[in-house]
């Protein structure tokens, strides 16, 4: 038995290579959320369309990407697709997989948020002459945004941790770099503990940010507000 190596633990805790890995994890999260929100918004709009030609592909997309593990999706994109001549680098595969998978989840969150805005609000906006895009932009979206902020915050937390799956296709994020460093001195427990602490620090920081955002958006309804209606 080797026991716990404090010296090694602290050395890795401040290791530049790992810190950079954490930053890459952060970058992947920001990208997955941004791209996911963008794609997810359009998928949600398609899904809510009364035209089947739009809603059916959206339903199919959501069904596939929510119904299969990200791990499998990444392996198909990175190692499977080259077989039919479609080649992506590790980074491209990771970004693509994360964005597409996250978009499927976010589309459902966005759809729920938009549906939760009362029809009366839409009618009121139309009644003053707003065009459909203006109804969405000035009346529905701001109210839907407030509704989806809590689940959106949970998604960020979840994506932060989910990015570690990309290590399987050798994407050099936090977990992959941890595994690489283990080859140095085989300080398995110390290194994985350091990685866990990094993840914990990032999710905790996000939780604090999320609380502030929720407070800010709640304020727009006034101090006496119980709920929108």
């Amino acid at each position: 038995m080797k026991g716990w190596n404090w010296e090694g633990f602290f050395e890795y805790l401040t290791n530049y290579y790992l810190l950079e890995g954490a930053l890459i994890t952060l970058g992947l999260t920001v990208f997955a959320m941004t791209a996911g929100l963008f794609i997810g918004f359009f998928v949600a709009m398609m899904r809510m369309s009364r035209y089947k030609i739009l809603s059916a592909p959206a339903n199919f997309y959501i069904w596939i990407f929510r119904g299969t593990p990200l791990l499998v999706q990444l392996i198909i994109i990175y190692t499977g697709l080259p077989q039919i001549g479609i080649k992506f680098t590790v980074i491209q595969s990771t970004l693509l997989g994360l964005a597409l998978c996250e978009a499927a989840y976010l589309a459902e969150i966005i759809r729920a948020g938009i549906s939760a805005v009362p029809t009366g609000q839409v009618n009121a906006a139309r009644a003053i002459g707003m065009r459909e895009s203006q109804v969405m932009r000035y009346v529905v979206a701001p109210q839907a945004l407030r509704i989806i902020i809590p689940p959106l915050g949970n998604s960020v937390n979840s994506v932060l941790k989910t990015t570690s799956i990309a290590s399987i296709i050798s994407m050099e994020e936090l977990l992959r770099r941890t595994q690489v460093l283990i080859q140095e001195k085989f300080l398995v427990l110390e290194l994985f503990t350091v990685a866990a602490l990094y993840y914990l620090a990032m999710t905790t920081a996000w939780e604090l940010i999320q609380r502030r955002i929720e407070k800010r958006f709640g304020k727009a309804y006034g101090p006496m507000s119980v709920d929108a209606h």
């Binding site: 609000q121 009121a124 009644a127 002459g129 309804y221």
Partner: protein, 249 residues
């Protein structure tokens, strides 16, 4: 009625919910410029549906609706543009909860009519003064009482300089003590010559300002009468029975 004085015209309007339930049956009605028409009738008679069809918030089955001569049901009609000329007040106010009172009054002016923020603000403040809510300009709708919110909603509609106003049970969701403050604004509006279609159960208001009363039952316009004559001398049994129920005490 002269052609140029017609503001709103409904010709044989039919509407169905689903394949079998007919909510509007052959409804025809002309509202002249400056006229106040009150629509009453038992609940489920199609009053609210009828008024929502006028600015196409509800589609009609067949028939024809024109507003200022423009056909509402024509797919080529620029509906948003037409709606911006017809103010609408809803039972549940429908102020935008994420905007202050002033923002509620300005958003349509700026985004739909293209007025400058300064121009919109002048108009908004004038209207707030008119409905007696100047002190509440910076508040959010949730901080106002129902009566106050409905007055803001009327001001929001008026901010668009509408040629006609539609009221869909504007006082039904209000506590009794707040009904009059809203009706007062509506009476003043009627006296200024605004063309109004009002769905309401407030028979006192109807008697005071309505040029004509439209009585609906089961999706049909059963009777159209002048203000006093409808109340004093209803022509149909259905109107008589309706009036005896609501005026009994």
């Amino acid at each position: 009625m002269q052609e140029q004085t017609k503001m709103i015209e409904l010709q044989s309007v039919n509407k169905w919910y689903g394949p079998s339930f007919q909510v509007l049956k052959n409804c025809s009605l002309t509202v002249g410029k400056g006229e106040v028409v009150v629509i009453c009738g038992p609940s489920g008679s199609g009053k609210s549906t009828l008024i929502k069809c006028v600015n196409a918030l509800e589609p009609i089955g067949n028939g024809r609706i024109t507003v200022t001569g423009v056909e509402v049901s024509d797919p080529k009609t620029d509906m948003p543009k037409l709606r911006s000329k017809v103010g609408m007040v809803f039972q549940h106010f429908e102020l935008f909860p994420h905007m202050t009172i002033l923002e509620n009054l300005c958003v349509g002016q700026e985004k739909v009519l293209g007025r400058s923020p300064k121009e919109a603000l002048v108009k908004a403040n004038a209207l707030l003064e008119r409905v007696g809510l100047t002190d509440h300009a910076k508040k959010y709708p949730s901080q106002l009482s129902g009566g106050q919110q409905q007055r803001v909603a009327i001001a929001r509609a008026l901010a668009m300089d509408p040629v006609a106003m539609l009221f869909d049970e504007p006082t039904s969701a209000l506590d009794p003590e707040m009904i009059n403050e809203v009706l007062d604004v509506m009476v003043a509006l009627a006296h200024e010559g605004m063309t109004m279609m009002v769905v309401t159960h407030e028979m006192g208001f109807a008697r005071k300002v309505a040029d004509r009363i439209v009585f609906m039952d089961g999706g049909e316009i059963v009777e159209i009468g002048g203000g006093d004559s409808f109340f004093d001398n209803p022509q149909t049994e259905r109107a008589k029975s309706f009036l005896s129920k609501i005026l009994a005490h």
